[in-house]
């Protein structure tokens, strides 16, 4: 047997690169989170460069925790992540079950379905917020105007006119407003990530035990009980994985927020960090550490699950 040391050494470049990539910036974030550090300050120019003499202890963390934007951002992050998870998992399971059986043109439907996933996030956001959701010029605006016009016309009609005059004028929704822009983000990300869920559930359904299924059918199990007692348990693990992977991705959602709700107050955690980083680096770093903690809570569960299947 030849020497096994050299082959093992081949891992080192990758390991060292990732180690540098992880430790240096994270170490700096940790350091900055404990000092007073701002980019511009006429009053306290000594705070504009990082130095240990500006030590602030947990002051930045306190500042962040006392900042109402922070809780709003966490709340908003969670609202966005949870809504997307809920929608993608339900839609994903439904669609995966729907297209699991062969039908004419299944391959094409698969291709159509998976396409949104490959659209770059920036295009996704620009496309939805302008061309589709815009309250005047987008499809939403055009559709609402069309319906209103139709109802208006029907009011003058004999017989049914009385019925239509009861209908209110529809108001298009502006998705750039603070209260609604989170929903725009949820809609567009759900559109993009439902295909991912479908793909994974479908892959998993294909490994389903067909004999068990046939036995169930012979025993007279209906569609619902097949779904409830065979398909759903089989999908338990993939659902958990889809949830965790998406949670990690969507906790750091950025481009969509930046494009849809820049400056309107609808922030998530990464966006708030970006805002702090325009001046208050200490606060940005402390917020960053909170974001790391939040992501780690999810990541630990995910890694444990993946680890189980790893060396099989």
């Amino acid at each position: 047997m030849s020497d096994r040391r050299l082959p093992r050494l081949l891992q080192t470049p990758a390991v060292i690169l990732l180690l540098i990539w992880m430790l240096i910036p994270l170490g700096m974030t940790l350091y900055f989170s404990f000092i007073r550090y701002v980019l511009n300050s006429l009053r306290r120019p000594e705070w504009t460069s990082p130095s240990l003499s500006n030590w602030r202890g947990f002051g930045n963390y306190e500042f962040v925790l006392n900042n109402k934007d922070f809780f709003f951002a966490i709340q908003n992050s969670l609202l966005i992540v949870c809504s997307i998870l809920f929608a993608t998992v339900i839609l994903g399971v439904a669609i995966a079950v729907l297209i699991n059986k062969a039908f004419a043109g299944r391959g094409i439907v698969r291709v159509l379905l998976i396409s949104p996933f490959f659209v770059m996030p920036a295009v996704n956001a620009v496309l939805w917020i302008n061309m589709i959701l815009d309250p005047v010029l987008g499809l939403q605006g055009i559709a609402v105007a069309g319906i209103n016009e139709f109802i208006d016309g029907m009011r003058a009609a004999p017989v049914v006119g009385g019925f239509f005059s009861l209908w209110p004028e529809l108001e298009p929704i502006s998705f750039r407003a603070t209260q609604t822009s989170a929903w725009a983000v949820i809609i567009m990300v759900t559109w993009q990530w439902t295909p991912f869920a479908v793909l994974i559930f479908m892959t998993s359904l294909q490994s389903e035990d067909q004999q068990q299924k046939e036995a169930a059918i012979l025993d007279g199990a209906g569609a619902w009980s097949q779904f409830r007692f065979l398909i759903l348990p089989h999908l338990g693990r993939p659902i958990a994985i889809v949830v965790m992977i998406q949670a990690i991705f969507h906790l750091s959602l950025y481009a969509e927020i930046e494009i849809v709700s820049r400056g309107n107050g609808n922030k998530n955690l990464p966006y708030l960090i970006g805002e702090f980083a325009n001046n208050n680096i200490g606060a940005a770093s402390a917020t960053g550490i909170f974001a790391v903690i939040l992501a780690n809570i999810v990541a630990i569960f995910l890694l444990r699950m993946i680890g189980k299947t790893l060396m099989e």
């Binding site: 470049p13 992880m22 297209i99 439907v109 698969r110 302008n130 970006g274």
Partner: protein, 277 residues
């Protein structure tokens, strides 16, 4: 085929119809973007030209004048291609070592690599800006290539590892008997055998690089700005430029969506790190 026989014909037809409707609905926004890209900016916001209009290619022909599209596309192409090449150059030896010479630490190293991927990028935003600016790397191709490579390296190593594991160890060991050195093993035995796996890893890595929208937006201004940055910079056309913006978006997205169609299966493996097969 007892199962198929049981479901009624009406049931099958309605199921297929529903599936088609769902598929078309999901594709609709992309279709709409492509359709709008063939309208003039003025027509694009007029309800009377919603579906029937005089198609024009001017939005595509004027992409350079309107947005300097090709400069951004070139930057996207350069950074994504080189990031993919470097990720493979570092990832193949690493995955080889892990698959054929595993130690007790291998599993932990793999898990640790994954955990770097789960670090929220925003947390290290300022240190990255600070470091790259002080090193003079801000807004350079080199920086974007390195960053794209590093954020995708865990996925690349992971995918390659799962492919390499499928190759029987005996084949590699036979090469060792013949006195082939480590480099020869990789080049002459491993790469030809795992070619398909390496290609799909590369394809997926390239797609992720192309679509990346955090670092490419935050660490560039002009010189190395990619298509994500271009689109992000035109986030609010206020209805003035729907036609031309659709064209540039379709051009940025089209090739990648088509590439994506070819690696659906690998996507599952790549994104779930082998946990769903």
């Amino acid at each position: 085929m007892a199962i198929v026989a049981q479901s009624s014909k009406a049931g099958r037809v309605s199921r297929a119809t529903l599936a088609w409707i769902v598929g078309l609905l999901f594709f609709f926004p992309i279709f709409w973007m492509i359709l709008t890209s063939f309208k003039t900016d003025a027509d694009a916001v007029k309800p009377e030209f919603l579906i029937f209009f005089q198609p024009t290619l001017e939005n595509y022909l004027n992409m350079t004048e309107n947005y300097d599209y090709w400069r951004f596309a070139r930057n996207s192409m350069i950074t994504s291609v080189f990031a993919t090449i470097f990720a493979l150059a570092v990832g193949i030896p690493c995955a080889y070592a892990m698959a054929f010479n595993p130690s007790r630490a291998t599993k932990d190293v793999l898990m640790w690599m994954l955990s770097t991927k789960m670090l929220p990028a925003a947390a290290v935003l300022y240190p990255m800006t600070f470091l790259t600016k002080s090193l003079g790397l801000f807004d350079t191709h080199f920086l974007i290539i390195v960053v794209l490579m590093l954020i995708n390296l865990p996925v690349v190593v992971w995918m390659l590892f799962t492919y390499f594991k499928e190759i029987p160890k005996e084949i590699i060991e036979a090469g060792q008997m013949d006195g082939v050195n480590t480099w020869g093993e990789i080049k002459e035995i491993l790469i030809p055998l795992a070619w398909g796996g390496i290609a799909s890893t590369a394809l997926l890595c390239f797609i992720f690089c192309w679509n990346e929208a955090y670092w490419t937006v935050r660490l560039t201004t002009t010189d190395a700005a990619t298509l994500s940055k271009l689109i992000e910079g035109n986030r609010a056309p206020e209805g003035l430029f729907f036609g031309r913006l659709s064209a540039v978006s379709a051009a940025a997205v089209g090739p990648i969506v088509v590439l994506g169609w070819f690696c659906q299966k690998q996507l599952v493996q790549g994104l779930t790190f082998g946990a769903v097969k």
